[in-house]
């Protein structure tokens, strides 16, 4: 599904190399987790995959089902099935959450040559999915993420994911700022979306999230590279011993 080969990238304005050759291969239906210390390049990887400005790819490739992601506009990547759940979801005053969701869903349908959803159909679907995530009618009416608590913002990300039905989901520190109950709720939302045709890349600092979203593969990222890959037990090792031992092994 997602194939990343030797991906290298600089931060444009600061002339600083962040990714130094990332290799990653995620098959259909798989859940991969990336852990790593602060500044290792995890979030940058998610931004580059989704097409944020400010980075320059200096080498390597990233493809989604064989299509060159790096060659596409962010909206084209979304229509191709890529979704990034933001670590810090953006507040958009003046745009109602419902309007935002419908605009996004219909823009993707249009890009794929499908008919737009009618207002009635859309409403039915969004209400059902919002209910599962305990998102009330008021949250749907309010401007996007404005005045939302940390937990509400993250649940809103998962709602968008549920509505857009992407095939490759990247979750960038979705557990940050969440209490235990909120994390469980978000994890349940994610688990409900797991399917044979949908893959996940879960970026996190803590093993705790991986108790709820069970990964098939765990990668450790440090200094712009993936330095170790293993099973779920690798996450436990990090939890118990920190990153120091792993980093020492590589050096």
């Amino acid at each position: 599904m997602l194939e990343i080969k030797g991906l290298m990238a600089d931060l444009q304005d600061e002339d600083k190399t962040i990714l130094k050759g990332v290799d990653l291969n995620i098959g259909a239906g798989e859940v991969h987790a990336i852990m790593g210390p602060n500044g290792s390049g995890k979030s940058t990887l998610s931004y580059i995959l989704s097409g944020k400005d400010g980075y320059e790819v200096t080498g390597g490739s990233a493809t989604l089902d064989g299509d060159d992601l790096l060659d596409m506009e962010p909206e084209e990547r979304a229509a191709a099935g890529l979704f990034l759940a933001f670590q810090y979801p953006v507040e958009i005053p003046g745009v109602g959450n419902m309007t935002f969701l419908r605009t996004a869903v219909n823009a993707q349908r249009k890009a794929r040559g499908e008919d737009e959803l009618s207002a009635g159909d859309f409403l039915k679907i969004v209400r059902a999915k919002a209910k599962d995530l305990q998102i009330d009618a008021d949250m749907l009416k309010r401007p996007v993420n404005v005045g939302f608590s940390g937990g509400e913002k993250k649940r809103n990300e998962i709602l968008q994911m549920a509505m857009l039905e992407p095939k490759m989901c990247i979750l960038d520190e979705t557990d940050s700022g969440l209490d235990v109950d909120a994390m469980k709720l978000v994890a349940e939302g994610v688990n409900a979306l797991r399917s044979a045709g949908r893959s996940f890349l879960v970026i996190t600092h803590y093993q705790r999230l991986l108790d709820h979203i069970k990964p098939d593969v765990v990668h450790i990222m440090a200094d712009g590279r993936i330095i170790k890959t293993g099973g779920p037990e690798l996450a436990l090792e990090v939890e118990n011993n920190g990153y120091a031992d792993l980093l020492a092994e590589v050096v």
């Binding site: 506009e73 909206e75 979304a78 953006v90 005053p93 003046g94 823009a107």
Partner: protein, 425 residues
């Protein structure tokens, strides 16, 4: 040459071809005296520093090409009394009967024949009051020479809005219209103004709202790219009365909208708002607002939003004057521009002048580019960059559109804005 001499020469040249229309003789002569005393405005005048009035004061109106489009008329789905002026000339065939429950409607040009006492009293009165402390000579010019207009007297709750429709058919038309609105105690009326009106349009609206009365004003200025307009709204608001005015401006070479409000009764409410979308270096838009609080517990709001690109210029001059004794005044003023590129310009002059010691007044003025983080967020959800920009632009304008009390009117404006943006690319 001294500015005073320049101004008196320009005034003389402007007046050379004009004669005072019949009716309201005293009021017209008084207005002419006011104009001659001050002279027409000049860019050296303090309140014309950011907007050069030359094309508004020169003897002949500059030509303005007509804007052809296949859009339906504004507010067409709304049941309203349509009063049509083509280049300032009343079009009886295109207009409805000038009648609705709760309101009497007369044309200004009929006032000479009919003895309309309130109109004779009001005409030019609020305009004259509004000449201090800041001169508004183009309004005095209008009071002296306006060829027509509409007199609206709300005696109860008007059964439907009154829509002045200003069509533009002559590329050189130079039009002055003057309308009056009198809202009786507890009465309520909505006035809609739509269309470009002329190559050069000068309008004055005097609004007198009595105790517990309500006046709603929603205006969409025509989209002719080359038209010029200077509009004035003078309002006097009594206790517990409500005044709300919203203006949408898209296109036009030069637009100056002045709004001068006196809050003379306790617990009065006045909201003035504007949304403006300007594209190109021949777009210049100016909102000049002056609100005077002269009673207890008054609430005023000024909400002005401008979206500018490709060298467009926006100006905001807004003042809140709180007189001694106008305690518990709540004055709010916000003027913001969204600059879509580095060529566009926003000039803002917010002013507060407060002589009471127990008031809450706030003002803010900002200029900014589109929020790149919000843009990326939308794109990452599949919304193409242009559509995302439009969505954020409409969101930016939303606060001003929210000032329109009637949802159906607001929705019509919103839908049109969306359409215009989608088409302009």
């Amino acid at each position: 040459m001294a500015v005073a001499k320049l101004k008196s020469d320009a005034t003389e040249a402007r007046l050379a071809g004009l004669t005072l229309p019949a009716g309201l003789d005293t009021a017209r002569k008084d207005a002419l005296s006011r104009l001659i005393a001050t002279g027409l405005p000049h860019k050296r005048d303090e309140y014309w520093k950011y907007t050069d009035p030359a094309s508004l004061t020169q003897a002949d109106a500059p030509q303005a090409a007509l804007f052809h489009n296949d859009e339906g008329p504004m507010f067409d789905a709304i049941d309203r009394v349509k009063i049509v002026f083509v280049d300032g000339v009343f079009d009886a065939d295109a207009s409805d009967d000038l009648a609705a429950d709760g309101v009497t409607i007369t044309r200004l040009s009929d006032v000479a024949d009919a003895d309309i006492h309130w109109a004779t009293e009001l005409y030019g009165t609020l305009e004259a009051r509004g000449q201090t402390p800041v001169e508004r000579p183009l309004a005095a010019l209008n009071s002296a020479f306006a060829s027509d207009g509409v007199l609206i007297h709300a005696t109860g709750k008007a059964s439907k809005p009154i829509n002045l429709i200003y069509l533009h058919g002559d590329t050189g038309s130079d039009v002055m219209l003057h309308s009056l609105v009198k809202v009786d105690v507890g009465a309520e009326v909505t006035l809609l103004e739509t269309g470009p009106a002329a190559a050069r349009f000068n309008s004055v609206l005097e609004v007198d709202v009595a105790s517990k009365g309500a006046f709603h004003h929603v205006r969409s200025q025509g989209r002719d790219h080359e038209r010029r307009a200077v509009t004035h709204c003078f309002a006097r608001i009594a206790d517990e009365a409500l005044f709300k005015s919203f203006t949408l401006t898209v296109n036009g070479k030069l637009t100056r909208n002045e709004c001068i409000i006196e809050m003379l009764g306790d617990d009065a409410v006045a909201h003035v708002a504007g949304a403006c979308v300007g594209d190109g270096n021949d777009f210049h838009h100016d909102d000049t607002v002056f609100i005077t609080h002269d009673a207890l517990n008054g609430e005023s709001r000024q909400v002005f939003k401008k979206v500018l690109r490709n060298g467009a210029v926006g100006v905001f001059q807004g003042k809140i004057l709180v007189k001694a004794g106008a305690q518990k005044t709540d004055g709010y003023q916000i003027s913001q521009s969204l600059l879509l590129d580095e060529d566009s310009q926003f000039l803002a002059k917010p002013e507060l002048e407060i002589y009471a010691d127990d008031v809450a007044c706030s003002h803010g003025s900002t200029s900014g580019a589109i929020d790149e983080d919000a843009l990326f967020y939308l794109q990452s959800r599949g919304v193409p960059r242009q559509a995302a920009t439009d969505l954020l632009t409409l969101a930016f304008l939303a606060e001003s559109l929210e000032e329109i009390a009637d949802e159906a009117l607001a929705d019509d404006l919103r839908e049109r804005l969306e359409g215009w943006m989608a088409r302009r690319g």
